[in-house]
């Protein structure tokens, strides 16, 4: 090692790069502001959990978004452990680049009209890879409806009805109003949060918000 200064300089640059990148990544998304939105929850919304909640989680999500599918079991676990004090409101925000995202939202809403919204919701996320690029997604969703014991004739009518389409459009419009630009986007008591890195991180945020 003849040129110690160069080696020390090199080490400083490498450590600096790594620390700098980790620091800026942890500092988070500058888009997440402290704005608290008064997100309206109506009777038409898909809600589960507490009727008298201390905390409301609003999730804007897209059934065809891979990240949303990754978060689905995390949110499920949260609701299993915090369901007595927490309410989850699922809002549809299918993105334009997902060819079957909107149809999947219609299928979930149509199942909801027969009281099986969350069952269809879970099934759609679990099977996302099977239908995402399918040309016959609606047929697949009808099979799911049959497996869930739904009236398939009613499901077929509802899935293409204006009422169901309007529900989804209303969610999309509201998401844009609250400046949703990616999925999933979570709001805890109206405040948009940075997507947590797993169950533990989500739990920490919930504990902090519920205090």
């Amino acid at each position: 090692m003849k040129n110690t200064i160069i080696w020390v300089l090199f080490l400083v640059v490498v450590v600096g790069v790594v620390v700098g990148i980790i620091y800026s990544a942890k500092k988070g998304n500058p888009d997440v502001k402290d704005t608290v939105y008064d997100i309206q929850v109506s009777e038409e919304d898909q809600v589960k959990g507490s009727n008298n909640p201390k905390l409301t989680i609003v999730e804007y999500s897209d059934y065809q978004c891979p990240a949303c599918a990754v978060y689905a079991p995390v949110v499920d676990e949260i609701m299993k452990n915090y369901g007595s004090t927490t309410r989850l409101v699922y809002k549809d925000f299918p993105l334009d680049q997902h060819k079957n995202g909107k149809i999947a939202s219609y299928a979930a809403e149509a199942a909801g009209l027969q009281g099986k919204y969350w069952e269809m919701h879970d099934e759609l996320f679990k099977t996302q890879a099977d239908w995402s690029e399918s040309e016959t997604a609606l047929k697949t969703f009808s099979e799911y409806a049959a497996n869930l014991g739904l009236d398939t004739k009613k499901f077929a009518v509802d899935v293409s009805s204006d009422a169901v389409k309007q529900r989804v459009e209303r969610d999309i419009t509201s998401g844009k109003e609250y400046r949703v630009s990616y999925t999933p986007t979570f709001f805890l008591n109206g405040k948009r949060i940075e997507n947590p890195a797993g169950y533990e991180a989500f739990k920490t945020l919930i504990d902090a918000t519920a205090k």
Binding site: I21, A67, V70, V74, T183, A197, G198
Partner: protein, 155 residues
């Protein structure tokens, strides 16, 4: 044994700059991999289907981390050659750079033909690897030519 070499300084500097850029890029992807459950899908730029695909991990190790280690190794090795003046080791540097260009071609092909989506940071890394390969090969060629000239002169 320390040797003289006529490799231009700008070429050495370019090598370090490109390797550093590759290192920053791959480190960023590695940190994102470990900090995020899954990168979200954006309205404008879409989903990050590449860095979440099954091709982003090899036997449990994120490809981005392998990339970062590759760039770090290339910088350390090049610094060692420079420091020790053992320029014949440039042959090894040129050899190692094949790993980078093979990985660059493989992962760009996976993006183009299998996942059918691109990740900007992955393409930038591929570009860094291609440039490192070209510079490393060129440096070795310059050194070889130089050594041949010296041996001719000494005859």
């Amino acid at each position: 044994m320390p040797q003289q070499s006529n490799i231009p300084r700008w070429l050495i500097a370019l090598f370090f700059l490109v390797a550093l850029a590759g290192f920053v890029d791959a480190t960023y992807l590695t940190v994102q991999h470990f900090l995020n459950v899954a990168p979200p899908c954006y309205i404008l730029t879409g989903c990050d289907t590449v860095t979440t695909s099954s091709y982003s991990v090899i036997v449990g190790i994120p490809v981005a981390l392998l990339g970062a280690l590759y760039y770090l190794f290339m910088m350390v090795f090049a610094l060692f050659v420079l420091d020790s003046k053992k320029h014949h080791l440039l042959q090894h540097l040129a050899f190692f750079s094949w790993a980078g260009i093979i990985a660059a071609i493989y992962f760009t092909a996976i993006q183009a033909f299998v996942i059918k989506a691109y990740c900007l940071y992955c393409l930038a890394s591929a570009m860094s690897s291609v440039m490192l390969f070209l510079i490393a090969q060129h440096k070795w060629r310059i050194h070889k030519r130089h050594m041949r000239a010296i041996s001719r002169d000494s005859l």
